[in-house]
């Protein structure tokens, strides 16, 4: 109840401003802004009839277009549902329990495509996913917009900013009250944002159904940031969380392989990794003395200092030097690629021997990421990938 009153108050406050700007004529008077409230005490004036008639024509065509679109969507939905049942029949499955996943599988089976881009391949999806959402009617039969900020041309966006402003004021009032009462109520308002990030511009656009420029988006995010840094921002946690998405920690996603026991009852894991056209297959055995074997030779298989250091790096990082044995075989062109693949494989194996905190540290150090860099192709008209022939002015 209080919330609704608040909304109405807010709207009316806002509206008063709009009224002063747009409604210079004293003839127009509005009592409430609620779009559903059709009982507005509008005094009908002489010229209003013609105005409404003029507007009606524009409104009519708009309404017609809206109707056509609605019908179109309905038709598409109908066809989609029928199509689903047809597909289910074709695939011999139960039409009642035919999910979107089954639809995708069926399409992939019936229309195999060699196209590269997934979006170019044949698909059958719910019309809501294919056809962009449109806003509901933004103004009524008389041309009167429902939203007070309609004439900003991005009412939802600016509405959001206004909401923020009001909430800011409310938090400030609350803070004043707290200071007046002498309460040092402290909940760190920044901590609850950990592990999340602001939604992207695209997702915001799809929610607001309005296109935003980059500066508008960054403006909004900056305002949000400022808002979230308020001492009592926790009170508006739900509101803020609408605009933040969870950052999934890699370590939660990657499954750590199991340790198995070999003949002599020592735990070991294996992993194979690639880097730059070289492969490595590494076995890390626990309860070891630090023996390192690469293709049957010791670490001096690699002649360069940097190569040797690369092999040692994951072991040293996890303090496992001298505690595990490493048996590696590598193949492929080039020492650097071989070394990189062995390093990645050792790091991946070491995940089984260390605790979660060290794994996270390894991830941050870049030990657990595949290095996707490849040799860049030489282009015609150039001696190398980037190098150009000598430029002659004439």
């Amino acid at each position: 109840m209080a919330a609704l009153r608040e909304v109405l108050n807010f709207n009316s406050k806002c509206f008063r401003g709009v009224r002063s700007y747009f409604c210079s004529s004293p003839a127009f008077q509005y009592s409430s802004l609620s779009p559903n409230n059709a009982s507005s005490n509008v005094q009908k004036l002489d010229f209003e009839e013609s105005d409404t008639k003029r507007m009606s024509k524009a409104m009519k065509s708009y309404m017609e277009r809206a109707k056509i679109h609605d019908n179109f969507i309905k038709e598409q939905l109908h066809q989609y549902n029928i199509g689903k049942r047809h597909l289910a029949n074709m695939m011999g499955k139960d039409p009642e329990f035919f999910t979107q996943h089954d639809v995708n599988e069926a399409i992939r089976y019936l229309f195999p495509s060699g196209l590269y881009d997934p979006r170019a391949r044949p698909m059958m999806k719910h019309p809501d996913e294919i056809y962009p959402k449109r806003k509901a009617a933004e103004f009524d039969m008389n041309g009167r917009p429902f939203h007070s900020l309609f004439y900003t041309s991005k009412p939802n966006y600016y509405n959001l900013l206004h909401d923020l402003a009001v909430k800011f004021k409310q938090l400030d009032n609350h803070e004043d009250k707290m200071i007046y009462r002498g309460i040092q109520d402290q909940q760190a308002s920044e901590l609850f944002l950990f592990g999340t990030d602001w939604v992207s511009k695209e997702s915001l656009e799809s929610v607001l159904l309005e296109s935003l420029t980059d500066s508008q988006y960054s403006n909004l995010i900056k305002t949000m940031e400022r808002f979230a840094q308020h001492r009592y921002a926790v009170r508006e946690k739900n509101f803020i969380m609408q605009f933040r998405h969870q950052l999934a920690a890699q370590t939660e996603i990657q499954k750590i392989p199991e340790l198995t026991r070999d003949e002599s009852n020592r735990p070991f894991t294996t992993f194979s990794a690639r880097r730059k056209r070289s492969n490595a297959f590494v076995k890390v055995i626990g309860e070891g003395t630090g023996l390192i074997s690469i293709n049957g030779e010791d670490i001096l298989y690699f002649k360069r200092k940097q190569d040797k250091e690369q092999i040692i790096f994951p072991l040293e990082f996890c303090n496992m030097l001298g505690k595990v044995d490493v048996v590696a075989t590598c193949e492929g062109v080039g020492m650097s690629g071989r070394v990189g693949s062995i390093r990645l494989a050792i790091a991946m194996c070491l995940r089984c021997f260390v605790d979660a905190e060290t794994i996270e540290r390894m991830r941050l150090a870049g030990l657990l990421s595949y290095d996707p860099r490849e040799r860049e192709r030489k282009k015609p008209g150039q001696p190398g990938a980037r190098e150009k022939f000598t430029w002659k002015k004439r």
Binding site: I292, I299, L300, K305, K308, E316
Partner: protein
């Protein structure tokens, strides 16, 4: 003022040339409470207790023994930087010293072959043995690095002594100089005499019964006959040793080069002169045969003494080939291995004490582990790993 300058000088001398007199080198307590130095600077007394400890060689001894070669170049320059030549006493050298001390010199000469990967410490072990031989009163026949005689020959002339063989005048003179520096005082003391007459030309003759130093001087002055002089000298030494006039220690580094198939000398018809076609080869092969007594032969075989195609294995049978193996057989093989934990620790302690390793992490166990695993405890790799260049 005299007094002040004298003490000042002594202080400067002690600080800069701390290894000049072996007795003045203090036994430094290692930072890890182990001891990595030893005061025992006479290699004759080196025993198992001295294993993995550094002993220092004084400057005059170093000049006498190694002026003509014998220390690996990088090790020599490093020792100059680190203010004194110190060699680690390791198992192969201790073993050899033990054998040499206990040798029955009436029996035919025993051959010892040091083998191992390149860079593992064979040359330094041989240097240790050279010092031992000098301290124990052996006459040293020391060839510092055989491939130098065949891969970088400056001049090769057809021999005057032997029809089908080749001389190496410059290398021979160099070696004679090295020999006389190493053994000069000993030869004077022993007063060895030639047992044959050597006619070099119409006017130059070395009569029977002339001192060996005359032979050496002739070789030093007349490069043309230097190789021949060496042949004669080694022959005489063999006879002298067998007749108990002196005791001879033969130390050769890179022995397998005598049996390699490459040299940089090419005849006019583009055919290569093999090491077996050189007169010096014959001389030394004769000396390393076990047909004499009252001496010992210590030899090393190294893959790097062969051209790159022949470096597959560090083992003696492969490196010597059939001829070489049959020549040396039977021999005592002594393997030189990578550092063990104690030796490695000692080496790191030495570097830290000499301020060669300056990172504080080097003193921690983690730092030592990192060095140990990155170098694979291989001596040469460790030296290159901690080098600044």
């Amino acid at each position: 003022m005299m007094r002040y300058s004298r003490t000042c000088n002594i202080f400067r001398v002690w600080r800069r040339f701390s290894s000049i007199s072996a007795e003045s080198v203090p036994v430094t307590e290692s930072i890890t409470n182990g001891i990595f130095r030893t005061n025992e600077s006479n290699p004759v007394n080196h025993r198992v207790e001295h294993n993995s400890r550094f002993y220092s060689i004084s400057e005059p001894v170093k000049k006498q023994l190694f002026a003509g070669g014998g220390l690996p170049k990088e090790y020599q320059s490093l020792s100059e930087t680190l203010n004194g030549l110190c060699i680690m006493v390791r198992k192969p050298a201790i073993e050899l010293i033990h054998y040499l001390n206990k040798t029955n010199f009436d029996a035919p000469v025993l051959r010892y072959v040091l083998y191992g990967k390149t860079g593992v410490g064979k040359s330094l072990s041989l240097a240790h043995i050279v010092h031992y031989g000098s301290s124990a009163g052996f006459v040293l026949v020391h060839v510092p690095w055989v491939p130098k005689w065949f891969q970088y020959v400056k001049v090769a002339t057809p021999s005057s002594v032997h029809a089908n063989k080749y001389d190496q005048p410059i290398e021979a003179v160099e070696w004679l100089k090295h020999f006389s520096t190493q053994n000069g005082h000993l030869l004077d003391k022993l007063e060895l005499k030639t047992s044959n007459t050597y006619t070099w030309s119409k006017r130059e003759v070395t009569a029977e019964g002339s001192p060996l130093s005359e032979l050496i001087d002739l070789g030093l002055n007349r490069a043309k006959y230097a190789t021949g002089c060496i042949v004669a000298l080694l022959d005489e030494l063999k006879k002298a040793a067998s007749s108990k006039q002196c005791r001879v220690l033969v130390v050769i580094d890179g022995f397998n080069s005598f049996f390699s198939r490459k040299s940089n000398v090419i005849r006019e018809d583009k055919s290569m002169v093999l090491p077996s076609d050189f007169l010096l080869t014959d001389a030394l092969l004769s000396l390393t045969r076990n047909d004499w007594n009252n001496g010992a032969v210590v030899v090393s075989v190294d893959p790097s003494a062969h051209p790159p195609e022949l470096r597959e294995s560090p083992l003696p049978r492969y490196l010597l080939g059939k001829t070489g193996f049959e020549h040396l057989d039977p021999f005592v093989p002594i393997e030189v291995q990578n550092y063990n934990d104690k030796e490695f620790r000692s080496q790191i302690d030495y570097y830290i004490e000499r301020n060669w390793l300056q990172q504080p992490k080097a003193r921690t166990d983690n730092g030592r582990a990192e060095l140990s695993f990155t170098s694979g405890k291989h001596p040469y790799s460790l030296m290159r790993l901690v080098a600044p260049y």
